[in-house]
């Protein structure tokens, strides 16, 4: 579904991503993990096409460089880590932004667009929020509203940059469960960045470990979340145990004082 070859991004004279390869098949969930500044968000933005990059991005067998922005937005939906939420906009209008790639430049949304939004809001349990202003929502509600906008794009690929940031434990779980259900129901391909390694290991099929802009490990959660790899690249003392479903759980270990 997504093939990225030799992807490099230069920002401010620094190589933020350096020759990264990614291969994600249809319906797969890839979690991009790595220490701060490893280039996780940059990778998503480059795949989305909103950052200048070298290398090749192939989406659904089509070269990314040959896609018009509107075509690309119908293939890939992107939710940034800290989305700009215009406080006065209603939830309905915000979700409607997701229909932008389908509405002609000078056109207005059709009845079908509005039906799709109504359907998406209902799926995410947001029907009662449709007329609420985005600025009045709680963190968990906001995350669902951002997800609603992404789903409204009806794209087969979902890129989520840290979808659990600033959420409490329960809401983190709810959002990831929701993404997982939507993925199964719609056959979506999902790429998320996640800083919580245990969460990443619990939900993703495959992990990609980035460090210093390079891909340093890639594979099933148990293959990537090893004491050696995590210890080296995160500069952390951890203990890793097999958790539910054989997926690893990462604990921090307190140093001796």
């Amino acid at each position: 579904m997504i093939r990225v070859k030799e992807l490099s991004v230069r920002l401010g004279g620094r190589e933020v991503l350096d020759g990264v390869d990614v291969d994600v098949s249809r319906g797969e969930w890839l979690a991009v993990v790595g220490p701060n500044g490893a280039g996780k968000s940059t990778l998503l933005k480059a795949v989305m096409g909103v950052l200048a990059h070298r290398g090749e991005v192939v989406l659904d067998d089509r070269r990314g460089s040959g896609l018009k922005p509107r075509e690309r937005a119908r293939l890939v939906a992107y939710a940034p880590q800290t989305p700009a939420l215009p406080p006065d906009m209603t939830v309905f209008d915000y979700a409607l932004l997701g229909r932008t790639p389908y509405i002609p430049y000078f056109g207005r949304e059709s009845r079908r667009d509005r039906e799709i939004i109504a359907g998406v809001l209902a799926r995410l349990g947001l029907t009662g929020f449709a007329a609420r202003r985005v600025g009045e929502l709680s963190g968990g509600e906001r995350q669902r509203v951002v997800l609603a906008r992404a789903l409204a794009q009806q794209a087969p690929v979902l890129l989520l940059d840290e979808p659990t940031t600033a959420l409490d434990l329960g809401h983190q779980q709810q959002v990831l469960e929701l993404v997982d259900r939507l993925r199964t129901a719609d056959g979506l391909t999902v790429i998320t960045t996640l800083h919580d390694l245990t969460l990443a290991g619990q939900y993703a099929d495959t992990l990609l470990l980035l460090a210093g802009g390079r891909s340093v490990a890639r594979g099933r959660p148990a293959e990537v979340l090893t004491g050696a790899l995590v210890g080296e690249h995160f500069d952390a003392r951890v203990m890793i145990e097999p958790g539910p479903g054989g997926r690893p759980v990462v604990h921090l270990v307190r140093g001796e004082t």
Binding site: P69, F92, R123, L124, A130, G135, Q174
Partner: protein, 358 residues
């Protein structure tokens, strides 16, 4: 709380009907147009000569095509209305609408509710070229409107060029800063030129403080630009709403933000230049009116743009009426009135809607 719950929802028969997207509601547009009509009739009434309101209404009806009405006015009164007051009211309406809509456009492009039609060097550019025309080239073919138009457009392009060159990403902050720099520089030159011809100071100042008494000639001059600029701006309401999430996210939604911004900037600058060319520098309209509209009718540019057009027209007609009547038979410069009336009006709107908007 999540998807499962959605199956148990109870809603009306039509799941789409209960929330409407933000667009200009017909009732708002009708209300704004009604307000504009009332203000325009008042504008035709105001001033010397004893004409009753109903006579004005009948006379206006008579001017319309396919309508014939006898208002019982003398030819002199008819002439007064048609040659003096009507073009004045129309010019005020067009200029007010243009400035308010251009303000809304700039605010959308810069994602800053305090952006102003004069922000990007338009006023300073027009001020400079007009001063040059008045002081250095008196009696030349370079008339004030032409000079003002060229100056406004030149000022904006200078700021845009500098801003784009300085910030590779074309971010909004660099553009605003470039506008500030250009404004200061051009104003300095303008003051210098002005000091070279102190005897022309009065003419320069009367232009700088604004005047909508230019007659039919100016109305005809501004109208084509007004129509083009208004059409382009009104067509971009939805796109400006998309830009509200920032360039990067707009890009992820398939919108070329830089291109949209350039087109809207061009149209808003054309509107500003056209307004400045026929009326001088009239401040505050471009900030006050869109802001009031936003407070009353919500922040979507799909309603802010058309309602600013109508509201700005009504606002400036009213300001001109006050300018003509407050110290009659003398006249106040309209730019003074817009600030004097605009500021309290602005505060009133802020207080009225306190707590309901950001």
């Amino acid at each position: 709380m999540l998807a499962e719950q959605a199956t148990g929802r109870t809603e009306g028969r039509d799941p789409v009907a209960h929330v409407k997207p933000a667009r200009a509601r017909p009732v708002w547009l009708a209300g704004a147009l009604a307000l504009l009509a009332v203000v325009m009739i008042a504008g035709l009434l105001g001033g010397a000569a004893d004409i009753a309101p109903w006579q004005v209404v009948l006379q206006v009806a008579d001017w319309l095509p396919f309508v014939s009405a006898d208002a019982g006015l003398t030819p002199v009164e008819q002439g007064l209305l048609y040659e003096l007051r009507l073009p004045r009211v129309l010019l005020a309406a067009v200029v007010g609408g243009l400035l308010a809509m251009a303000g809304a456009g700039y605010q959308g492009v810069f994602r800053n509710p305090l952006a102003d039609p004069y922000l990007l060097g338009a006023a300073a550019g027009a001020g400079l070229t007009t001063t040059v025309a008045v002081v250095l080239l008196p009696g030349s073919a370079l008339t004030t409107p032409v000079a003002a138009f060229a100056g406004a457009v030149g000022g904006v392009f200078l700021a845009y060029g500098l801003g784009s060159a300085a910030g590779r990403t074309g971010g909004t902050a660099t553009l605003v800063l470039a506008g500030v720099a250009v404004t200061s520089f051009l104003t300095a030159i303008q003051t210098f030129v002005q000091q070279l011809g102190v005897e022309e100071l009065r003419r320069v100042y009367s232009w700088i403080l604004g005047d909508v008494g230019g007659g039919w000639e100016q109305v005809r001059l501004v109208l084509p630009y007004a129509v083009v600029a208004a059409a382009v701006l009104l067509a971009h309401g939805r796109m400006l709403d998309v830009l509200a999430v920032g360039d990067e996210e707009a890009g992820a939604l398939g919108v070329r933000a830089t291109r949209v911004r350039f087109v809207v900037l061009l149209a808003a600058s054309l509107a500003t230049a056209a307004a400045v060319a026929v009326s001088g520098l009239i401040g505050f309209v471009g900030i006050v009116v869109p802001h009031a509209v936003r407070r009353l009718a919500g922040g979507s540019y799909r309603s802010v743009l058309p309602l600013s057009l109508i509201g700005g027209a009504a606002f400036l007609v009213l300001a001109d009426l006050l300018a003509r009547t407050v110290i009659a038979p003398a006249e106040l410069p309209i730019g003074v009135v817009t600030m004097f009336v605009g500021a309290p009006f602005f505060v009133a709107v802020l207080r009225m809607t306190r707590g309901t908007a950001t």
